[in-house]
């Protein structure tokens, strides 16, 4: 009864029927690889999940080098179900990044970036960068020795970029070394700046997807079936995937709860065999393959320059792949996509085990 009155109150004031018409008119192509469409929705869901669990944790976290570690420890040991929420946030981040990579490589190989969806690709790519920074900044907030060393290495690595590296390093650290200033900055990035940027970018990304509609792979144009309505058909399937993802997240949080290392000591040496989070492993492993000095140049600088160029190339793929934009097969870019995927997977595995 109350919901009916509320509905009447809203419909009297706003043209909700127009919105309903738009939603009813939204169609999704039907073809053998339509499962790829759900990767974007899953990433968005996990992103919202991170916002919710992050808000819960932020009620108790103290962004100060003296108290940050203790506040996390208190969340895990003194707060009712605090360990569970921290675990949910941790595993949510892992799954969100994994889901984003699946979404990225699927669209790269299916050439969903081709004209007129270039900006969809670019905004998606910006989101990968934002999510990486989310991961890095969130990781540091724990203020344990492993996170402290990882941030020292990561910000130091950014400092190896030619010309602008030094400025980036100082900007990220808020000074010469990793200190309280760095924690304040990373906290600001993690809870206010990055969420604002991601809301804008995700909003634009989703809006562009609505404007252009879903891309159908060129090779499947002939096998396309009758389009299915988004509401309720595709939305119900999305719900099934989101529920399953929630189940997996809760199970991981309960069975493999995230642990807390020892409190960071800026004067202590770096722990032995330290490794970054899995999504940084391919970068970490690439840096390890390069010698300290190559001719007159610093090996790390060369490695980071090559990685940066490879990332820049990937951003501009929609503008470079003219054949697929013209509706023709472009096997060269399929091989490039397969190379990127294999490089990421193989280097991550090598980095994980060695």
């Amino acid at each position: 009864m109350i919901s009916r009155r509320l509905e009447e109150w809203i419909t009297e004031r706003y043209d909700t029927e127009a919105l309903r018409r738009v939603l009813r008119a939204k169609k999704v192509p039907s073809h053998p690889l339509e499962a790829s469409y759900f990767t974007g929705g899953l990433t968005l869901f996990l992103f919202i999940f991170q916002f919710i669990t992050g808000m819960a944790l932020s009620l108790y976290y103290v962004p100060h080098s003296e108290y940050a570690y203790k506040s996390i420890s208190d969340i895990m040991t003194k707060l009712n179900m605090g360990w569970f929420f921290r675990s949910l946030h941790h595993w949510g981040a892992q799954l969100a990044i994994a889901s984003l990579f699946i979404h990225f490589f699927t669209n790269m190989l299916l050439k969903s970036y081709r004209k007129p969806r270039e900006l969809v690709w670019v905004t998606g790519f910006i989101m990968i960068a934002v999510l990486y920074f989310f991961g890095l900044s969130g990781y540091f907030l724990i203020w344990d020795q492993r996170a402290f060393t990882a941030i020292r290495v990561a910000t130091g690595g950014a400092g190896s970029l030619p010309f602008i590296g030094g400025a980036i390093k100082v900007f990220l650290r808020g000074g010469i070394d990793v200190t309280q200033e760095t924690l304040t900055r990373f906290y600001a990035f993690h809870v206010s700046i990055l969420p604002m940027i991601s809301l804008l970018i995700v909003g634009l990304h989703v809006l562009l997807v609505q404007v252009h509609g879903m891309s159908v792979p060129l090779s499947l144009k002939d096998r396309e079936g009758k389009p299915q309505p988004f509401f309720p058909n595709v939305f119900y399937k999305d719900l099934i995937i989101w529920l399953s993802a929630t189940g997996i997240l809760v199970t991981l949080a309960v069975i493999v709860p995230v642990e807390l290392g020892v409190k960071a000591d800026p004067m202590a040496p770096a722990p032995e065999n330290i490794k970054p989070e899995w999504y940084f492993l391919f970068l970490f492993q690439t840096l390890k393959f390069f010698p300290g000095q190559i001719g007159l140049f610093n090996g790390e600088t060369i490695a980071i320059t090559i990685i940066s160029l490879a990332i820049l190339f990937a951003i501009f793929i929609p503008f470079l792949d003219r054949r697929s934009s013209a509706g023709k097969p472009s096997p060269a870019y399929t091989y490039i996509g397969v190379f990127y995927l294999l490089y990421f997977v193989v280097m991550t595995i090598i980095g994980f085990f060695y």
């Binding site: 919202i48 999940f49 919710i52 669990t53 808000m55 819960a56 009620l59 108790y60 208190d74 895990m76 040991t77 003194k78 707060l79 009712n80 179900m81 605090g82 360990w83 569970f84 929420f85 309505p229 309720p232 058909n233 939305f235 119900y236 399937k237 719900l239 099934i240 989101w242 529920l243 399953s244 929630t246 189940g247 809760v250 199970t251 309960v254 069975i255 709860p257 642990e259």
Partner: protein
Amino acid sequence: MRIFCIISSIIFLTAASCYAGPAGGGPDLSPYDRHIMYQALVLFWIGVIGLITIIIIKLREVKRIQEMGLHKDESDAPSLD
């Protein structure tokens, strides 16, 4: 959408009610508490599978109605007003 709103509300309200009191669980639990935790996990999965089953049944019903063409509004249908 309604299910999503309910799940989000439950997660947020549970988080908001997590006042700073004695710890109710954690990795270092007694065997009994661990048993209760896994039991809760099993019940949670039963709930998830139940919801998924309901959605699948609803989706099949929607598809059947769409195949029969009953979901479309008839333009010449008489008004009941």
